[in-house]
Symmetry: C2
Subunit: 193 residues, 2 copies
DNA sequence: GTCTATATAATGATAGAC
DNA sequence: GTCTATCATTATATAGAC
């Protein structure tokens, strides 16, 4: 692994551990085993490191929220998507703990966030529609209802791991299962009997 | 208004504007029109100011999530609770933008948070039960279902204003109405036809 | 690419006079 | 209670040698 990569990995680990504002460029360089000067050769400041980590998160999102498969989707696909999303959130948990504060400081980054979020949103909406087409879920009353449902799923899935943390609970198999159940509740109005 | 109070009000306003880590005790003293030394007479450090603001937030929560009235509750009571909660979140929006990060730094504060959150949670659950008793909502299948529902409402209501912000949308009458509609969707499985 | 050394500024916090 | 003055520490960032 080259030093640029080492800086990125070390930063992610320190940010997740202590939060972005408690971690200085000196801390990062130190933990990465390089000099502060060297760090500034690779990145012009701390925010550029943070932005790089956001981009990695965005790439991970794009992979998870793709419209899957040609075949008719089963409920297992949905569960896989939810679980994969939880894993990503946990991997980049510092982002989810601070995202509103971080994006407010950087309007360009916020624009990128909105763009990628929109794609994820559309991918998830397409999945719901595929379920409706396949006859697994009942059709929503109208587009407005579909949008509300998608938004709700988004908020819950995005907040669930952090919510567990706020309550002092571990993000373990139990916690993931609970989160998946919560998502089932959200979708229940579309379940067929 | 005395200086202690002025420090608190000024801090809230600066934290909401720029975030806790971008605001120093010097900034606060400056904006409050007092000396840094004076600030340290009233508070021993920045975290103590943040803790004081959390306590004010907790007090506001306790008021909103009380079990209301002796009379049978109408759906208007629920809407009032939701709207009042949104107002509080907006007033202390810096907390909601950073809460996971802030509580991780201060285990005592996290314990307080859990305690107050639990009371709010119970107050909300009691309201749902009151609706069921009054025949406004259908009874949930069991306690587990009630707990899931309460948790879901909590997450959504807590995250809605910040969610609007993340999407670059204003927290105006429209946004509040959308949030209320979202809550209606969550409760829909209990609605009677 | 990487290091050491250093400039510059800001931060949290205290001492001591009034 | 409030101020001025000041300290020790840390942060970001750059210059220049290798």
């Amino acid at each position: 692994m080259n030093n640029r990569q080492r800086i990125i990995e070390t930063s992610l680990s320190l940010f997740n551990e202590r939060g972005t504002s408690a971690v200085s460029t000196n801390h990062i360089a130190d933990a990465a085993g390089i000099s502060p000067g060297n760090l500034y050769y690779h990145f012009s400041n701390k925010m550029e490191i943070i932005r790089t980590l956001f981009e990695r998160l965005f790439a991970a999102w794009d992979e998870v929220f793709q419209l899957p498969v040609k075949r008719a989707p089963s409920m297992t696909d949905l569960e896989k998507m939810i679980t994969a999303n939880y894993q990503i959130i946990w991997q980049y948990r510092f982002v989810y703990r601070e995202q509103a504060a971080l994006l407010r400081q950087d309007t360009e980054l916020q624009a990128r966030y909105l763009e990628v979020r929109q794609r994820g949103y559309e991918g998830f909406a397409a999945l719901i529609e595929a379920y409706v087409t396949a006859g697994v879920l009942s059709p929503p009353a109208d587009d407005k209802e579909l949008a509300t449902l998608t938004e709700l799923c988004w908020i819950v899935s995005e907040q669930w791991p952090i919510n567990l943390e706020l309550r002092g609970r571990a993000f373990d198999a139990d916690g993931i299962m609970e989160g998946t159940n919560l998502m089932r509740w959200v979708l229940r109005p579309l379940f067929k009997e």
